[in-house]
Subunit: 214 residues, 2 copies
């Protein structure tokens, strides 16, 4: 039909991936389709497949970018370093709410992911953790952070709307007494932010992690 002449390629892997991330951030993961992504890039869907084998490959590339955004620990004290990384990790997963969902169905780590893990391992080794203990600490802290976000991200309320929603649930107090007690005494009495729990848990975990250095 129409013949177009192109001096430079319109697409690139990087452009595709960053656009996909922006779309997923804005509209959620299930609104991210190949056609829509193509449309955003003024290109037909199938053209993307010249740069990607699969949609899975796209998702893999997307989480790899997320790992780039997670700060590597640098503080002299390993406690500070791990806390720094955990906060950064949490921030990244807040920016990209789809990431956790993608993470758990993907098992092909990208280069940035491997590099990140390698650097954290090196940091822990330098901080005096044994080889085995490194793995345990890593597994422990990562599990806590990911697990916490699993709950946090799916929570229907933020700090402001929490009391309002909790009030609604009060009707269940008869059926679930301890749940009701918690609602009344913690969430409804004074300011409540579930985010605080993150730091509470993280600190005690780090306290306990000290034991793994032997």
């Amino acid at each position: 039909m129409s013949s177009l002449s192109r001096a430079k390629p319109v697409l690139s892997l990087e452009l595709i991936v960053t656009t996909a991330i922006r779309m997923a951030d804005a509209d959620g993961l299930d609104r991210l389709g190949m056609r829509r992504l193509g449309q955003e890039l003024s290109v037909e869907a199938m053209s993307l497949y010249h740069h990607l084998r699969d949609k899975d490959a796209l998702l893999d590339a997307m989480i790899d970018v997320v790992f780039i955004e997670i700060e590597t620990p640098t503080a002299p004290s390993w406690r500070d370093g791990l806390r720094q990384r955990a906060d950064s990790q949490r921030a990244a997963l807040h920016r990209h709410r789809w990431a956790l969902q993608v993470l758990e169905s993907r098992s092909h780590p990208g280069l940035a992911t491997l590099q990140h893990h390698d650097q954290v391992l090196g940091y822990l080794r330098a901080a005096g953790f044994g080889v085995r203990a490194c793995g345990s600490v890593f597994s422990l802290v990562d599990a806590y952070v990911f697990g916490f976000l699993l709950t946090e991200l799916q929570l229907p309320f933020d700090a402001e709307s929490a009391p309002a929603i909790a009030s609604e649930l009060l009707g269940l107090t008869a059926q679930f007494p301890h749940f009701g007690e918690y609602l009344k005494e913690v969430i409804l009495s004074g300011p409540y932010d579930y985010a605080d729990e993150f730091h509470i848990g993280l600190e005690v975990v780090l306290d306990a992690a000290e034991r793994l250095r032997s």
Copy 2:
């Protein structure tokens, strides 16, 4: 076309949900479609919608059943109780590999879920935890368990095949030295089972929980 006479309803919510769970266990979550589910029940897909508002409602019902399977803690020592629950939780999520994936996109807890949480809260209260501490401990342990399984379930290897796969990765040793060190000294030297990390981390978490009782 053909007129069938039915004395009793063929379908029920419970039958649909248990069948869906069986299918998801066997074939994975993405092979669970309404048509296929209907076929398994000798019924057209749309008939299911007489018992379910949505596919989301189905997923909600499915995880609620999973929560029924998670044992409520009973041991006299709260440490034992929490460990017992964590193990049971892990077992359930192993039986139903799709559950974690569903969990993180759903925010409408079912009755069994609420009941389970209420009972655990009551258990912790009885064990001497303050109201606030209950929430922190709950958040902490749940986060750890879920987070650990997030990683564990996506791991491409089990205990036997781990060394074989790790050997392949050894090519990366030059690029990722600490990763390579870990592979060599931990995974390839002697028996390795990532499941062990679960218990190592869990004990640390329970240590941390102890600190929350003040």
